[in-house]
């Protein structure tokens, strides 16, 4: 930005300085010319005054006055006749006097003298008188006082005018000298001003030149520095690109690859040369291509805030290698708007190993929790079994009392239902699943494990669950969330060896400044908060700092793996959230999981209307039951027979196949256990289906197999009903299938 601005402003600055130069130069020239003209004038003036010498004019005037006096003196002395002045001397004095009068006749001196007030007249008058008396003077003899008096009497009145003339000349010359002096002073100042003007404008020109030269040098240096920095920066970027462990790919706005670093080459299996110029979509698996293109299309309008967009936000995706295999990646994207348009910088991290570790941690955590749970469940189960066996025995003791029997059996059913719920949840929890984040109601998840928590934490801890308020949804792996909550519960339990209160609650919160600064939360975004507060021992500050590190534990060996809180932390991060912990030693600890709030998903499951299904509407069918556990087999037989169907039973798969053949395949439906001795349910089903493709199959099991092939067979060939089942539910499932409802009761995928 700086460089651009400097480049923009440079022509303006240059134009401005050009104007300054022009003005200064013009002023300097004007001053120089004025000075030159003035000096030429001064020289000419000086020459004029030099030609007309003031001293010479005054001298000439004074000389006339002097020679006049000397002549009169000589005349007196000569007339006195003492021989001191000879006739030659008198004549010489007369000649000298005439020569002085002659000065006024011409030349520059004469002209000047003529200009002085009354001077010319005085001289002319005197010359006229002298001329008139000259014969008398030349004829004068010593001792002729009469002639002398006559001559003297005519000459003497000119004495004063001649004196005045000399004085006037002197004054005139003085005035002229003063005028010249004043004029010289004026000229001096005017010329000094011109000189000053020349110096100032010249100086300003020089300063401007120096300043411009320096500025040019400086801006040149700045430009060089900038270029150097840019080069260093480019080298750094190249070094980072080449040594980065993560793949760094830059693309243009359309997704065309501009650069591809070595890490990207090894990650995706492409040479940089083969990748550059192609569409970045080539790294996206088939199923995700549309979503990618949609994002690319919407992206430019996606963020109006300007600047780097999406930077800092890390997303997880599936990526495609050159060999066609896919792998999980973590991706962050930065966008820069440069001169050549928008550039996307994509950072890609291969998180295959991390995913595997996470899954392992999660699983081991579940096992930890399960171990803990088993003790509690066994205790709970014993209570329920006590109730079941106790009430059953009581019913058998007095079978004739219908009311008594009814009461006892109702208690048996209640206890059985509770036991079934307990086992179902345990199985659901222990099941090893792929991570499958879905939008779920967090409160519902907590509620679903409500019954598992008391056995987990023991009787001396008072549990409060608050999942009220509006239903808040988050996109999270359900199993992970359950494990996380159970881990927090176990932790709380360990923190309160002597008992206490555990409060688990959920609510919706908007991220404030505090959360945004401490975590990577987006300010103003909404989160589902899930907190677990205990009144236990609390956690010391040193421990608090390391609490989320994997394998960090303060528990005794065998009590914990040190993975519990690491798993909670990992779960929250995977879901785009974070975990906060507040603790006070001696007062208790609160862990709060923040998960980004999601909109509630639209119900996709079609609620089925079972209202039309009752006992016997499907008519009498022949149903073959294969079940190794006798009580279950018997329960199923009685239930279905009571529903009006013909029922055949077998205690394993082979026997079931034999019965089928004995009946020549006249069987409408096979109800089979999944895992049985000799021949397992799916195998049996496939065998019978080979004979009769229209045969309906219902699988029943208390445990869903981990065998993927088996799960697929179950899903494709029949429907699944979870043990223990309600008799009414069994009848509904069977009859629904016979009636031809295409979808089963439960899909196993």
């Amino acid at each position: 930005m700086v460089v651009a601005t400097e480049q923009d402003q440079r022509p303006i600055a240059r134009a401005k300085s050009r104007w300054r130069y022009a003005i200064l130069l013009a002023a300097n020239l004007a001053f120089s010319v004025s000075l030159l003209v003035g000096l030429v004038g001064l020289v000419q003036e000086n020459r004029k005054t030099r030609d007309i010498s003031p001293a010479l004019t005054y001298w000439s005037a004074a000389q006339l006055s002097l020679e006049y006096s000397r002549f009169l003196t000589a005349l007196s002395v000569y007339t006195a006749g003492n021989g001191a002045v000879a006739r030659d001397d008198l004549e010489t004095r007369l000649d000298i006097l005439w020569s002085r009068i002659g000065v006024y006749d011409g030349g520059v001196v004469g002209e000047k003298l003529a200009m002085i007030d009354d001077a010319a007249d005085a001289v002319a008058a005197f010359a006229a008188t002298l001329r008139s008396v000259e014969p008398d003077v030349l004829a004068l003899e010593p001792g002729d006082m009469e002639a002398f008096d006559r001559v003297y009497g005519q000459l003497i009145p000119h004495g004063l005018p001649l004196y005045r003339m000399a004085q006037s000349t002197n004054l005139y010359e003085q005035r002229a000298a003063i005028e010249i002096q004043e004029s010289t002073i004026r000229t001096f100042w005017v010329h000094t001003a011109f000189l000053l003007g020349i110096v100032v404008t010249g100086g300003a020109l020089v300063i401007l030149l120096i300043f411009e030269a320096k500025t040019t040098t400086r801006s040149l240096n700045a430009a060089q520095r900038l270029e150097l920095r840019a080069r260093e920066s480019e080298q750094n970027v190249r070094a980072i690109m080449n040594t980065a462990v993560d793949a760094i790919i830059t693309t243009d706005a359309k997704g065309t690859i501009l650069s591809f670093n070595p890490a990207a080459e090894s990650m995706f299996g492409y040479e940089a040369g083969a990748a550059v110029g192609r569409d970045v979509a080539m790294f996206i698996p088939e199923g995700h291509q549309d979503a990618h293109h949609e994002k690319m299309r919407d992206y430019p309008e996606g963020d109006a805030s300007g600047g780097p967009r999406l930077s800092g936000q890390i997303r997880e995706f599936e990526a495609l290698r050159h060999d066609g295999s896919t792998f999980p990646i973590e991706l962050s994207l930065g966008v820069t708007d440069g001169q050549d348009g928008t550039t996307h910088v994509v950072f890609v991290r291969d998180i295959t190993a991390r995913k595997q570790t996470q899954e392992q941690i999660l699983h081991s955590q579940k096992m930890d929790a399960l171990g803990q749970l088993t003790g509690g469940v066994a205790h709970e189960f014993n209570n329920l079994l006590t109730a079941i066996s106790g009430f059953s025995e009581m019913a058998l003791r007095d079978p004739s009392d219908a009311e008594h029997v009814d009461h006892c059996l109702t208690e048996v059913i209640n206890a059985s239902t509770q036991a079934a719920e307990l086992t179902k949840q345990m199985l659901a929890f222990a099941r090893k699943q792929e991570l499958d984040p879905r939008v779920v109601k967090v409160g519902d998840i907590i509620e679903s494990i409500r019954s598992m928590l008391p056995p987990l934490i023991g009787p001396n801890i008072n549990l409060t669950l608050d999942t009220g308020g509006e239903p808040a949804c988050a996109k999270v792996d359900e199993s992970q969330l359950k494990t996380a909550v159970m881990n927090l519960a176990i932790n709380a339990c360990h923190a309160m060896p002597g008992g206490g209160d555990l409060s688990i609650k959920t609510w919706v919160v908007e991220a404030d400044e505090g959360l945004a600064s401490r975590f990577s939360a987006v300010r103003g975004a909404s989160y589902v908060a899930l907190s677990a507060s205990d009144t236990g021992t609390g956690i010391e500050k040193e421990v608090l700092e390391r609490i989320f590190e994997p394998f960090f534990t303060t528990k005794e060996e065998g009590e914990g793996t040190g993975l519990g809180l690491a798993m909670v932390h990992g779960m929250a991060e995977q879901a785009g959230g974070f975990v906060d912990v507040e603790s006070e030693v001696g007062a208790g600890t609160t862990f709060t999981i923040y998960l980004p709030l999601c909109d509630e998903p639209q119900a996709q499951e079609n609620a089925r209307d079972f209202a039309s299904i009752g006992r016997g509407p499907a008519g009498r069918c022949t149903i073959l039951i294969a079940e190794d556990r006798e009580p279950v087999r018997e329960l199923a037989r009685i239930t279905l027979e009571k529903a009006g169907h013909e029922v055949l039973t077998a205690e394993d798969g082979e026997k079931a196949a034999d019965i089928y053949r004995e009946r020549d395949g006249k069987v409408d439906l096979l109800l089979t256990d999944v895992i049985m001795p000799k021949k397992e349910g799916p195998e049996l089903a496939l065998e019978l289906l080979a004979d009769n493709p229209n045969l309906k199959i219902v699988y029943m099991s208390g445990f869903i197999s981990r065998d993927q092939a088996m799960r697929e067979i179950i899903g494709k060939t029949g429907v699944f009903i979870q043990k223990p089942f309600d008799p009414d539910e069994l009848v509904r499932v069977v009859e629904e299938l016979i009636l031809g409802t295409p979808e089963g009761h439960e899909k196993v995928a």
């Binding site: 030099r50 030609d51 007309i52 010498s53 001293a55 010479l56 000389q63 020679e67 000397r70 010489t92 000649d95 000298i96 005439w98 020569s99 002659g102 000065v103 011409g106 030349g107 520059v108 001196v109 004469g110």
Partner: protein, 172 residues
């Protein structure tokens, strides 16, 4: 014998008069016959009595005359001056000093460096425009500088050296 001697003297005198006389001059100057118009005293080698070299108009003119045309501060337009070069006069008297003190009839006096006479054709003018200068007209001798030929001579300082009615020179 005396005739021969006299003849030799005449020859020697002629040789001196022709060759050495203009430069160094003879041991004595001729006596002036007319009215003396210029008297030179001081550091001179040749005199014609009382350590003085006295010149009448004829003696001066015999040293050879020169004519220059120039303007003056006391006349209108260029004037033709004729007279003897100052340097010739001073050579004639064997002047050896650096300056001369020139004195006019009215006792006006001015000092002039001898170098002026070497550098410029300074004239002891006796005629102006073909007319003999008299005492009434700045005569009999007017010191004239070739003002128009040299810029540096056109100023008040030089004008002061244009002494007229020259009557005495003292070589110093």
């Amino acid at each position: 014998m005396p005739k021969v001697f006299a003849s030799i003297s005449v020859v020697v005198g002629l040789v001196f008069a022709l060759a050495a006389a203009p430069a160094i001059g003879g041991p004595q100057l001729a006596e002036p016959e007319g009215r003396v118009i210029l008297t030179i005293s001081g550091a001179i080698d040749r005199t014609n009595g009382d350590a003085l070299a006295r010149f009448d108009r004829k003696m001066l003119e015999e040293l050879g005359t020169t004519t220059i045309i120039t303007t003056t501060s006391w006349t209108d337009g260029p004037q033709e001056f004729e007279g003897v070069l100052a340097r010739d006069v001073l050579k004639a008297v064997g002047a050896t000093g650096g300056t001369i003190a020139a004195t006019a009839l009215n006792d006006y006096q001015i000092t002039i460096p001898m170098s002026d006479f070497d550098k410029y054709q300074v004239l002891f003018a006796t005629h102006m425009n073909g007319v003999e200068l008299t005492a009434r007209d700045k005569g009999p001798i007017w010191i004239v500088y070739p003002r128009d030929d040299h810029k540096e001579l056109r100023n008040q300082k030089v004008d002061a050296k244009w002494l007229w009615q020259l009557s005495k020179i003292s070589v110093q």
